[in-house]
């Protein structure tokens, strides 16, 4: 009966097996502890996904604007940011001659004027509901400069959308619909489209009938929900023939210094403010900073509760197995062996919780997104929760680190037991 005196290269697997069996001894308690960790991880992953997704959505929305700087009427920067991305109510306008003044600036690579107005769409489409979507954003654009600014804009193809195009010169009844605007109203190329527009200073709206001449491909930006008109026509219908909403500008050379120089040159105009994209991004991020802080606080509390829960579970387990630990030490287990076993059990609980929590976060991300969007309007289109492998990776790593620290005390306590006392205590 010879002993194999060679070291076992797979010794960790045996510790792993023993740890799993120990955890399965109390399945309800282990399950509840794992659930606690999973809950904390779900909150943390959702928060991480929200932070990442929201920033990504902001970046995408702003990048898809096509310009780096905009000139607009003076007002609240929050409103400016929202207006850029979603349109909005209480729009401010700047004189149209600002366009003529600014476009001669030598540092400008391209510039496009945009007029934004809000129309009513009651009776305009097939939908008769009284939902909050009774308003639509109308953008008056100058097609040539708009295309230079957004070269990626394309018309939807396929049956019912063939021959999509921009407006004919001089046409007074042609509109181009963004993807979602067309989908919602179920309009195709050649269909009629109705909009009620209240001209500035007039008490009653005027209903207009348009022909849809093109539907844009989905861009994931505010353009998807927009109705496009020729800029002069839009200004006329809204009763603001000499006004603009935004001047979108791309500079030949864009950096902080050039931006500052450009801003300084045109801030001298009394009616306008120059807004850089970074400023808009910062503004939008700050819009949700409070919400993110609150969610982060919940996540921290959940993590602390889970941390205490894990420690409590493992301590109880150690207490229940005092005699066994004494026996293991009598059988030759070093302090490190016991520490390793208990620590492994703790990390396994946290790892299982991290995986379950990540899965839950991924599966429930749609629900989380709807909840977050229901709480507030975040001013961006598209998904604002992006649970990436990196987010999950960090969450799992965090849970393992949590397990590492949670397991320290119980493992130290177990490994420090004197075998005689442990055996007697458990007997």
């Amino acid at each position: 009966m010879n002993i194999d005196t060679r070291n076992d290269p797979f010794i960790l697997r045996r510790y792993f097996t023993l740890a799993v069996k120990n955890l399965r001894r109390r399945p309800v308690r282990t399950g509840l502890t794992v659930a606690g960790v999973a809950l904390a991880v779900t909150v943390a992953v959702s928060l991480g996904g929200f932070m990442l997704g929201y920033r990504g959505a902001i970046d995408k929305s702003i990048d898809m604007l096509g310009f780096q700087v905009m000139i607009m009427a003076k007002g609240c920067p929050y409103e400016a940011a929202t207006m850029m991305l979603k349109g909005g109510t209480g729009l401010l306008y700047l004189p149209a001659d600002v366009y003529e003044k600014v476009k001669s600036d030598a540092s400008i690579a391209s510039i496009t004027p945009i007029f934004v107005g809000v129309a009513q769409k009651q009776g305009s489409g097939i939908r008769e509901d009284q939902s909050e979507t009774n308003f639509l954003i109308v953008s008056g654009i100058e097609v040539a400069s708009y295309q230079v600014m957004k070269p990626w804009v394309a018309f939807k193809k396929g049956p019912g959308y063939a021959d999509g195009r921009w407006f004919s010169p001089g046409a007074r009844n042609e509109v181009v619909l963004g993807f979602e605007a067309a989908e919602y109203e179920q309009r195709k190329v050649g269909d009629s489209f109705y909009a009620s527009i209240t001209p500035a200073g007039q008490p009653n709206p005027v209903q207009h009938e348009f022909k849809v001449v093109g539907v844009l491909e989905r861009s994931g930006t505010q353009d998807d929900g927009t109705v496009f008109l020729p800029i002069d026509l839009a200004r006329e219908f809204f009763g603001r023939p000499n006004q603009l909403t935004i001047l979108g500008i791309r500079l030949k050379e864009f950096n902080a210094i050039k931006m500052r120089q450009f801003e300084t040159r045109w801030l001298s105009l009394p009616e306008v403010q120059v807004v850089g994209l970074q400023q808009v991004k910062n503004t939008l991020v700050s819009l949700v900073a409070t919400a993110q802080t609150m969610i982060a606080a919940v996540a921290v509390i959940a993590i602390i509760v889970a941390f205490i829960g894990v420690i409590n579970t493992i301590l109880m387990s150690v207490y229940e197995r005092t005699s066994e630990i004494g026996i293991m030490k009598a059988l030759g287990a070093r302090r490190g062996s016991i520490f390793q076993l208990i620590w492994l059990e703790t990390v396994m609980i946290c790892l299982a919780g991290a995986l379950a929590g990540s899965l839950l976060a991924v599966v429930g991300s749609g629900v989380v997104e709807r909840l977050i969007k229901a709480m507030a309007d975040f001013g961006v289109s598209g998904s604002i929760v992006a649970i990436t492998p990196a987010v999950i990776g960090y969450a799992v790593l965090g849970a393992v680190i949590l397990g590492f620290f949670a397991g320290l005390y119980p493992a130290w306590r177990a490994s420090s037991m004197r075998p005689v006392e442990a055996i007697n205590k458990g007997a």
């Binding site: 009966m1 010879n2 002993i3 194999d4 005196t5 060679r6 070291n7 076992d8 010794i11 045996r14 510790y15 023993l18 069996k21 120990n22 399965r24 001894r25 005699s323 066994e324 026996i327 293991m328 030490k329 009598a330 059988l331 030759g332 287990a333 070093r334 302090r335 062996s337 004197r418 075998p419 005689v420 055996i423 007997a427």
Partner: protein, 252 residues
């Protein structure tokens, strides 16, 4: 190897209980040889368990000298005592102390995990066969009788090839027939493997089956009987020359 596996002089173990000093063991001299079965007898509280805890390096003496497998252990820390125990001492406890979630085979192989050694399935099978549990290898402890559990504990104690087997009341929870079979197994292991067996028991019949019986009272040896001379046949030729010398030394 000179045949002596444990040697203790003036071994004391005192405990402090409040202001009172409890003399659990008060100056014991003992010497145990390879292949010898020594039973430690005495009433409850006489110091039996304290003595075997010291001899098996589970506890440290308050005073005295103790050598286990050639290593002086008095004054060693817990971590140092573990190193002495590893691979040298096997334990059998009265309560069996099997891990309930592990099968018989896994319980028996447990010491190898702590020693970091590979499992030799053939050895596991042979040891289980030696204790008559070949057909219970995949059973959980809860599926075994008391006698079977004690046999598993013995198999586990033997798995790492110890020089000394320490058994605290190994027959305490067993019926007479099972107890006798356990004692018979110890005798066979001592004779065939040269294993030194130290066992405590209340049962004078089982105690009388040993080579030597030591009776404790109030932490002192009050009687020591040689029930059977050391079996020279069980000793290897290499150790035979030292036996007479060591016997003399033990008798000093």
């Amino acid at each position: 190897m000179n045949g002596i596996v444990i040697e203790a002089h003036r071994l004391k173990r005192y405990y402090q209980r409040g202001s009172e000093t409890v003399k659990a063991l008060d100056g014991v001299d003992i010497c145990i040889r390879q292949g010898e079965i020594v039973s430690i007898l005495g009433p409850s509280g006489s110091g039996k368990t304290t003595l075997i805890n010291l001899l098996s390096c589970l506890d440290a003496p308050t005073e005295g000298t103790l050598t286990v497998a050639g290593k002086p252990v008095a004054g060693l820390s817990e971590d140092e005592l573990v190193e002495v125990r590893r691979g040298v001492l096997g334990f059998v406890f009265q309560q069996f102390s099997l891990l309930p979630t592990l099968t018989v085979t896994e319980n028996v192989e447990l010491p190898l995990m702590f020693l970091g050694l590979r499992v030799n399935p053939q050895r596991t099978r042979e040891i289980l066969a030696a204790v008559g549990l070949s057909d219970r290898a995949s059973h959980l402890p809860q599926e075994l009788s008391g006698g079977q559990m004690q046999r598993v504990a013995i198999a586990r104690a033997l798995m790492a090839g110890p020089k000394i087997l320490v058994a605290d009341e190994p027959t305490g929870n067993l019926d007479k027939a099972t107890g006798e079979s356990i004692i018979a197994l110890f005798k066979r292991l001592a004779a065939e493997e040269g294993l030194a067996v130290i066992l405590t028991t209340h049962n004078t019949a089982f105690g009388a089956a040993a080579d030597r019986a030591i009776t404790l009272e109030d932490g002192r040896i009050v009687k020591e009987e040689v029930l059977k001379p050391p079996s020279i046949a069980s000793l290897t030729p290499a150790t035979m020359t030292g036996v007479s010398v060591q016997v003399d030394q033990c008798n000093e």
